[in-house]
Every structure is written in C-alpha cells, then in structure tokens.
Symmetry: C2
Subunit: 197 residues, 2 copies
Amino acid sequence: MIPQNLLEEYNARIVNLPKDTIIFNQGKPAYYYFQVIHGEVKMAHYNEDGQEFIQGIFNNGMSFGEPALFGEFTYPCSAVTIKDTSIAKMRSDDFFKLLENNFEIHKNFNRVLSKRLRYKGIILNEISSYPAAHRIQTVLKYLRNKYGCEQEPFEVPFTRQQIADMTGLRVETVIKTIKQLSQKDELNIQDHKVVLK
Amino acid sequence: MIPQNLLEEYNARIVNLPKDTIIFNQGKPAYYYFQVIHGEVKMAHYNEDGQEFIQGIFNNGMSFGEPALFGEFTYPCSAVTIKDTSIAKMRSDDFFKLLENNFEIHKNFNRVLSKRLRYKGIILNEISSYPAAHRIQTVLKYLRNKYGCEQEPFEVPFTRQQIADMTGLRVETVIKTIKQLSQKDELNIQDHKVVLK
DNA sequence: TCATGCGTATGATCTAAGTCATAAGAGAAC
DNA sequence: GTTCTCTTATGACTTAGATCATACGCATGA
C-alpha cells in the first residue's frame, strides 16, 4: 500500500512478530498505521463466550486498522497474527502528514476502504438473506479472487473453523454443508482440503 | 459533507426528487458524487425474490454512493428516496479535483467511510452471533445515536418492516421481539411507535 | 363512503442451523 | 513411540426464527 521509500521517509519501523501475537485489542485507542510486510494477520471480534467473528484477513502489503485512525474511534476488533509476520508501524501524525503530501496514496486509501465496505455489504446481505451453502460459496469465491488466479483450481487456505468464523456459521454446519456441496459437485474435497475448480 | 460554496464551485447541480424515486440501481456504473440536501435516501440490496436488505439510510448533508466512485466498482446496492428529497449531484472528475485541492475534506471522507465500515462490522458481528432481540437493540441504539440526542426518549422513525430489513429479520419476528422487549421494559411502545427511553 | 393498501398484531406449524456427543486422522511436543 | 491438541467427520436432538394464515386499525383517495 505505502511504498518502501515512503515508509522509511515517514519513520515507519519494522516489527517481527511470531504466529498468534496480539497486535492490538478491541476497545483500545489507535496510535499507529500498520502494514503487513510478510505473513498474515486476522482482525476479529470476540464475544463474551469466546466466539470469534473474523472481519478480515490481511497479508503482503495490505494495511489494517486504519479505519480507527481515520474515524477516531477505538478498535472495534482485535488484530492477531496467524503466521509469523513482519509489519511496518508508523505513528499516526506521520501517517497523516504522508497523506497530505501524497494525494495519490491518500486517494488509494479511499479505494481500499471502499472495497472493504463493498465486501462487508455483500457478506451482510449474504448472511441475512441466504442459506448456509450460498454464504459459504460467496465467501470462498471472494477469497479465491483475493488470493490469486481465478483460473486454476484453488486450494482454500483456511480451516473449516476459519470459514465458519467468517460466515457466522458453526464448524459442524460448515463441514456438513461443504460435504454436500462436494456431493453436488460444486467443489472438491482433496485430502480433506477444500478445492474450488 | 461538502459545503455549499464548494458544491457550487465544482459544478454540482441540485435535483429535486419525489418519494420513492430510484437514484441509481445496483450493478450500474458510478459517474456522480451525491449528497443529500434535505429528505432521506435508503441504499438497499434486492434479492431475486424481492427481499430487501437496507445497507444504510442517508439524510441532511450526508453523501452516498461514493464508495463505488472511490473503489471503481459498480453500485452494489440501489439508492431510493424514502421521502421527497433534494440532492446535490457532482461529476466524478470534478469531485476528485475538489478532493485534491481540499485535504481536510478528503480526510473527512476517510472518516466517513471508516465510520460506515465500523457500523457494518458491528452489524455483521451482531447478525452472525446474537439473537434477534440483541440485534434489534443494537440497531436501534445506533440509530438513536445517529439521529440525535442520546438523552431524551427517542421515537424510532422507522417501521417494523424497515427495522426487519436492516437487521436481516422478518417483520413478524421484529414485531414479536419488540413486544417482548417492551414487556421486559427495555423499551416502550406508544401508540404503536417504538420509543427508546 | 367505501375500497384498497399498508402497518401492526398474533397464533400454528415448519425447518435450517445450532447444540451436544462421540470418534478418528494428523501434526506437534515430549 | 506415546500423548496432546486441533481438525475433520457424523449422527441425534433442540430451537430460534421463518413461514403461513388471519385479523384489525388507520390513512388515502376514488
């Protein structure tokens, strides 16, 4: 998102984090801009009973947590690494200076926010209007899109639990529904992995 | 959002629309920036069977539909007036020029998008994790917040059907649940209107 | 004035998804 | 190699909310 040279120019620091490290917690104020260098980060809500809802998954080059900076609210979700990850971290005031001096980058943040808004709108509509099978397929298609080539078979890099946490369903429901989808030949299960064709 | 003088400077036009006018349809490309002068506009998904899901309601001064402009995608929802409404309409290229020349306004759009993102995230989490009563209360509290004073009793300016369309529930469920909530004294029903206290 | 439509209201029934229990494979940790 | 933990898997049972049917109040307008 923000290129290397600007990260340096505006005093970003690189931080290396092992898998399963909490970067920030829901309810906490936002002081930094974050960008993934490599690895993977999830943002998720945790309810009282520990149930998780994954709001987004971020990897190579993607920024996360900026909405709290822009909107001046506390983080609505927590951010946790799901792989060994390194991130760039820039102070909020440096970040806003950078935006002021770089219109195209600023504009690009609008683009990124808008796309996320679009995704959330789609999922919201899915969850409220469609049965489990449809929801799962929509999320999987979206992920394929995001993760790479639309052509080749796509081995979904998520567990049933993670898919459940993204669709608001239960693991068992996801497992059963995905099995049904594979029986209807809508997707494949190879070696327990979900594969879109 | 964009002040009067800038609207004029960047060639916005004022358009008056009666209640129930379609401003744009889902799937169509975006050419204009829109801002409500007075009246009210809803943005909603419509599914094959005509079921509606309301993504947002916009009134005095609020902009709508910009995400499609920023993100360069077709409208994911349709926009329809729900009262007699007048809107300002500005060509996309004028809009981007305006942003380039007015950093604070540009920044404010980040703020607006971020807040919407936050709302959607909250609703998404609600819908996927909580029972009907909780969902409804969360949406109503959010609306109170948005529509005005948090102190006084708040007469919810929406029908049961609209609340259903915002929470992904059915009218009957909303009616029954709101009745239960009023019996548990969590809210009042005065003259068939929902009133938060 | 009466009809039409919309919003509210309420009960009976149905069903998709959640819950619970149980188990087997796979990898990591000891 | 054995133990632990996580993931996939499957079946029995429960339940929240959807669906369907019906009704009544109220506004609009022909």
